[in-house]
Symmetry: C2
Subunit: 458 residues, 2 copies
């Protein structure tokens, strides 16, 4: 093993934990276009959003001027139960690859939700409680977001209804059970608890549901219930803001050892992890203070950045949300089977989309069998069994390190290890049994998705 | 929340991590009786044990004189991937209980095996590799030990055959899959790969297997394969030695803040976690340097300390192992259904048994529904979903803290949180559905077990 001036894990002390989130929009020369109200075609106002979201989150969503936004003590207090998370120097992976590169990863998976999702769940539940609300609703597919929000709701004392895609609640009974254990109510969607659910049940009896339908039900429940709001786990600006705690901790940890990464890599589904990881580093880049390369990694089965269009589109497949200007495969795009449920999203965070459009971010799409190759290589030498989503970042970090082996460059690579794969073992089974396939959409598949993008008058 | 002079989590730096394990036997005035060879009735020699175990582990097993035994750099290096583990001040649990007590817990669950088992798996795999062996065998029931050994074997480059109780491999397919993902071979037991397995299959076709049978197969495979040894995850002295890293880290962390616990609590199955947690504190107590109360917690369904006999008995139900003097319910005792698979063991570590017999340890048996009450209370305020085994310690820590509420005493309570419950959600489901039962053996049940204890001539 190389001489270890840098410890295997860099932990921050409680005093070193961030007191402010980092709002990268304060340094963006060009802001992303505003959300549009689909009924009027006009930009959404705070009043448009208030029936759905908490007030404080809306203010954060619309804030383009303040670089620093304070993390209230009530949130920092809960953060201490699962943060700081370590920056790990992947000495054993480096050794196995025989690379001159230095590889670092920020590990967000050692909390019960198993991922970074808890960073924003904590904030959104806190603000709901502070606003005097009694309950929250949300949807969940793979279940990590539902688990995170159940944990946060239990901590702050809020009731929670989780609309879980019916087929997921049947295929992932244990995920459902974690959510129930934290006291939340899991409702397989479509359900008869909402008009939207009843309509779909009537039209398609026996359907397994969809994320789009679950969103519709959760929003309806929130807007029709007193003292209740809806919360979302990715895509939106305020979610990326909360996730900036990942990047801030990473930067403080690396700064302690005088390390500036040459490359930062993160997996990209809705963009919350990647946006949070890169936030403070990107802020500096936008000010000309560094020349870091940022790489967003998406699955080849759902390539919104690398093959999508930059257009106004609905955030959900049921076409109930405001319109966002983003890279999208079309709200009607159906990604083919993939084990990275958290990356199967047709769109992309408007912030990430804007930065990508303006050339600050590079995007790479990777095939899932190669992702699992890297995941297992990583697990065997670094110990952690990664989530399939996170393993997308591992794949590209390994590829970058292998390039360094060829060129002899000693690049410093930082990637985000967003979570663990403990609830994804059916995917690992497929891989272990040699039954994993890659499914890459054809141009015809994409064309069908693009046809679902609404036509907006300029 | 109370004034926080003590941080929520106390982490050690790499430099503060232990360089030596702590051998509590060096301070025991009375050693436990030696293992006996069942064929001869005479104490086991190193030569008796060498066909089964690694040489270095046997030396450690028989060492009663050295307080400090060095942890080789090759093990400390792997330890850095998942250690140090934090000592957490349970501020939120204290607040919810309204207790004047200070509650601390040492959390061993944030590695992929999900428990403390990796501490000894690492050491045993390292020594096997150092001895030039090619492969290891073991048995696993619930699967935590099998996972830990698969991780360690992958890290050190050893082949591993895990004999997994057939019914467990069917009921816990995901545990099996983690083990396979780390490259180990999982063999549902009984199998046709050993004479012991073939015999049982012939006598009981269609049987779901048992831990006793899996041990027999693993030992046979080890002793009949060149360059192969068998490894065990609990009970034995060298396993407790490796687990002393838990207690050593806890003591260093608490010493930094001038804290000496009044009570230390751990769950007790084979005794490896409890023995490791208390080791350095007990060593001081044996030297008259502290007056800490040590409480071992066992399930009411399998009460080896509180209702067992102190006698020589086989370590396995198949009666193939050396005889150990320990608290036992009889190697033929069948514990009734319980969700804490790791605590369903008829015997107890000879070290723990001796210390208990000599009055240095108190034991408490708790019912599983009350254990789950405490587990869920803990999860909701401290975030971590505990393993059912670990929750036994939570139950008694909560009870001690509630006593302090009555008496006004500000006791300092430390307990071991050995692992997470991510693979135990069928147990949580039972609890959430109101279907959990407590099953306490009757005196008649115990008498049947006691009848299986062999009669040893003095």
């Amino acid at each position: 093993m190389k001489t270890r001036q840098i410890p295997y894990k860099i932990y921050l002390s409680e005093e070193e934990m961030p007191r402010y989130w980092y709002n990268v929009k304060a340094h963006m020369k060009v802001q992303h276009e505003p959300f549009l109200n689909p009924a009027t075609g006009k930009p959404c106002t705070k009043a448009d959003l208030q029936p759905v979201f908490c007030d404080e989150c809306i203010d954060q969503e619309l804030n383009t001027s303040d670089e620093q936004i304070e993390i209230p003590e009530g949130i920092r207090s809960f953060y201490r139960t699962f943060r700081p998370s370590p920056v790990v120097r992947a000495y054993f992976l480096e050794e196995q690859l025989g690379t001159p590169a230095e590889i670092y990863y920020k590990f967000e998976g050692s909390n019960t939700s198993g991922s970074h999702k808890l960073n924003s769940a904590a904030a959104q539940a806190y603000y709901a409680k502070k606003q005097g609300l009694k309950s929250l609703t949300t949807e969940t597919g793979a279940g990590q977001w539902g688990t995170a929000l159940a944990m946060a709701s239990a901590f702050y004392g809020l009731n929670l209804d989780v609309y879980m895609v019916k087929v997921s609640s049947e295929q992932k009974p244990y995920r459902k059970e974690v959510i129930r254990t934290y006291g939340a109510n899991v409702i397989p969607s479509p359900s008869d608890t909402t008009a939207a659910g009843r309509k779909i049940l009537k039209e398609f009896p026996g359907t397994g549901g969809s994320l789009g339908c679950a969103i519709s039900e959760a929003v309806e429940k929130a807007t029709s219930t007193p003292s209740c709001r809806y919360v979302l786990g990715s895509v939106l600006d305020h979610v990326l803001l909360h996730q900036s705690v990942i990047g801030l901790e990473s930067k403080t940890a690396l700064d302690k050892y005088g390390i500036t990464p040459d490359v930062i890599i993160g997996c990209c589904g809705g963009g919350s992890n990647f946006g949070g990881l890169i936030a403070p580093f990107m802020g500096e880049k936008l000010q000309g203070k560094n020349d870091i390369e940022f790489i967003g990694v998406e699955p080849a089965s759902c390539p919104s950045l690398t093959r999508g269009k930059y257009a106004y589109d609905f955030c959900d497949s049921a076409k109930t949300t405001p319109l966002a200007k983003m890279y999208t495969l079309g709200c009607g795009f159906m990604p083919s089977a993939s084990h990275a449920g958290g990356l199967r999203y047709h769109g992309m965070s408007p912030i990430i989309s804007r930065l990508y459009h303006d050339g600050y971010i590079r995007a790479v799409a990777v095939e899932q069998s190669k992702v699992f190759d890297a995941a297992i290589k990583f697990a065997k030498c670094e110990g952690i069994l990664p989530a399939p989503e996170s393993a997308h970042a591992i794949r590209v970090a390994v590829d970058e390190a292998l390039k360094c082996k060829e060129t002899g460059k000693k690049k410093k690579i930082l990637f985000g290890l967003t979570g663990t794969g403990y609830f994804d073992l059916s995917a690992y089974k497929k891989y272990n049994d040699g039954e994993m396939s890659d499914s890459i959409p054809t141009d015809e598949d994409l064309a069908k998705g693009f046809a679902s993008i609404p036509v907006i008058k300029a």
